[in-house]
Symmetry: C2
Subunit: 368 residues, 2 copies
């Protein structure tokens, strides 16, 4: 499988929903496979909150493959021997596209908290612009889960003729207060980190004392990604240090898991970018310009594949079911498909239980 990693620099302005504007911006992206001559074999993969362009394959010397490698590759459901697959890093993310850590040309300084708040529509608008630069005006499919599923829905509603098939997994049409509340913990933990001071400017101090706020915030994320059942299976009530049972600092295995993942994450993800992407997730409501879910979904011309997961407590299946029923009400039953995958993995299932749904994607992509 041929992997290419690139960055595209735009000198034309990008007008944002907030009224603010990027006079310049750039997008990092990765591609898998080869674009055919009539550019009819394109599949767009949209990533989740903390994802990157690196969806599949391994770079030289890399121990871990891309985040959706079980789905994407030669001979896999998203078959890179047939399709040209592209994954674009979302604006605000620290993995290569324009984000709060970049220099704002108008001031010559890093944006930091002066970065504009973006919405999913802005992110997708920029992606469509990039695809257009590459000569691509219609794609075989857009596929994404969680925040990536929000992008997929945005493609479906705001660019009705852009994609033949839309796959939205483990997502919602509008972020509910339950998910906003989980994000709130992360946001508050980051902002009350003593190193935050309005924008984490003192890099020496951070290097010394770490980013505890981001670590605590990530723990809340991990709870929302799992489920009571998956935690029981993974950890039970097992204790890490049995002689520490009556020590205030003694930990259960689930504590250790959260400690490890929290601290680890704080070393690989910028907390300012996290604030902006959490905000973007909170603001997501694909009905906002249309008055109702039905009016919003009436825009869709693509075939829509909705896949939810039974144990998902972040974006529970009933929200996707609502979308499905809406399409049925709109008389689009031949263009909509819904399934709830039985899983104990909670929200994470769209990443870890690929074998439970990849055949659906394969069947659609293989059809001529």
């Amino acid at each position: 499988m041929k992997i290419q990693t690139k960055t595209h620099y735009f000198d034309e302005p990008l007008y944002l929903e907030s009224g603010r504007v990027f006079s310049k911006f750039h997008l990092a992206y990765e591609t898998y496979g080869e674009l055919n001559s009539d550019k009819s074999n394109v599949i767009v993969i949209t990533h989740a909150l903390t994802g990157s362009t690196h969806a599949a394959g391994r770079y030289e010397g890399e121990s871990k493959a891309g985040w959706w490698d079980s789905l994407i590759g030669d001979g896999k459901a998203v078959d890179t021997s047939k399709f040209f697959v592209i994954c674009i890093n979302i604006l605000s993310s620290p993995f290569g596209s324009t984000c709060p850590l970049d220099i704002d040309d108008s001031t010559g300084k890093e944006y930091r908290t002066r970065f504009p708040v973006l919405v999913i529509s802005d992110v997708v608008k920029a992606q469509v612009r990039l695809l257009s630069e590459l000569g691509i005006s219609r794609v075989k499919a857009v596929i994404g889960g969680s925040l990536g599923g929000m992008q997929a829905l945005c493609y479906a509603i705001e660019y009705p003729n852009f994609a033949e098939n839309i796959f939205a997994l483990a997502t919602t049409y509008a972020t509910q207060p339950w998910a906003i509340a989980f994000n709130k913990i992360a946001i508050s933990a980051i902002k009350s980190d003593p190193n935050f001071k309005g924008g984490y400017y003192d890099k020496d101090e951070i290097a010394k004392s770490g980013l505890n706020g981001m670590a605590v915030g990530r723990m809340a994320g991990h709870i929302s990604f799992l489920s009571p059942a998956s935690m029981n299976e993974k950890f039970g009530r097992n204790y890490v240090e049995t002689d520490g049972l009556y020590e205030l600092d003694g930990r259960f295995q689930v504590d250790r898991y959260l400690d490890y993942n929290g601290v680890n994450f704080s070393h690989r993800f910028d907390p300012l970018c996290y604030l902006y992407i959490a905000k973007m997730m909170n603001l997501f409501d694909c009905t906002r310009h249309y008055g109702s879910l039905k009016n919003a979904m009436a825009q869709i011309r693509a075939k829509l594949f909705l896949i939810s997961f039974s144990g998902d407590i972040l974006f529970p299946p009933n929200l996707m079911e609502e979308m499905y029923k809406c399409m049925i009400d709109l008389g689009a039953k031949e263009r909509v498909f819904y399934t709830q995958i039985d899983s104990d993995y909670g929200h994470d299932a769209f990443l870890v239980e690929v074998e439970k749904f990849d055949y659906i994607i394969k069947r659609v992509l293989d059809a001529r």
Copy 2:
């Protein structure tokens, strides 16, 4: 209704499960109604993580009544014109009983993080000792929800002849990793508070900059007390400052609710006590000395009333159902009762939807 608030000082040692010992300790408690001559009209109310002795009634000038006032009072389900009701502050809690803020006689200094880790069994052992001092060796009922329900179960299993009826609401026989994970956020947020420094010794600094860690931790608690449905109903996607939609600091109503409750709580609850009580909750497993749930429940001689709430994500109904089935398996079907109350209030339902279950308690207590 006659309310009395007292503290009892013990000069005899209390041996703890950890192997540590209080050479002296004290318990604060509140009573409602009058003890009859043969001391046969006693009801014990056990409080939850952040509760206090003040379960019912109003002190002079007090705007808000006790935390279970809708259940307890003259003519109410727990009728204080008939019963003598007692609510004892748990050890480790900051509301009057021995806790980390007290002076350790062996050092002459506050315990702080040198306070011993307690388990529910220790807490109940101390309560039984107090009741014994008051000449009470058998009670009509023990009634408690959440951590109070754990105490009620502990009375049932470890003091089989102590109570005629046990009411355990919104609780579990052993804290599951899901609940431990929510506590972990609070514990980590408290410990990474810049003012923590191993025990919050600098009171001037705390008065100045607050207890952000406790506030963030409490937010996680509030998520676990509510449910997706109750949040939708309470907040929806309503925004607080509509002109702040694209401001990074702009908040949804659910954000404001969490901010308000987090900060408010940090002013009324000591974070060190919180660490100890969260640990106590995490350690709770009433099967630990018995090898199995069945063996543990085989100890019970009281009538056991188990009440769960459909939307409770902290201690989901299936855990209480398991206890019920266990009692049935033990051939105790005439001594066990289980019901799941339909509620959108989540875990909080045991406090706020009293009218949905108080008739069960009333019927049992009224029977002769």
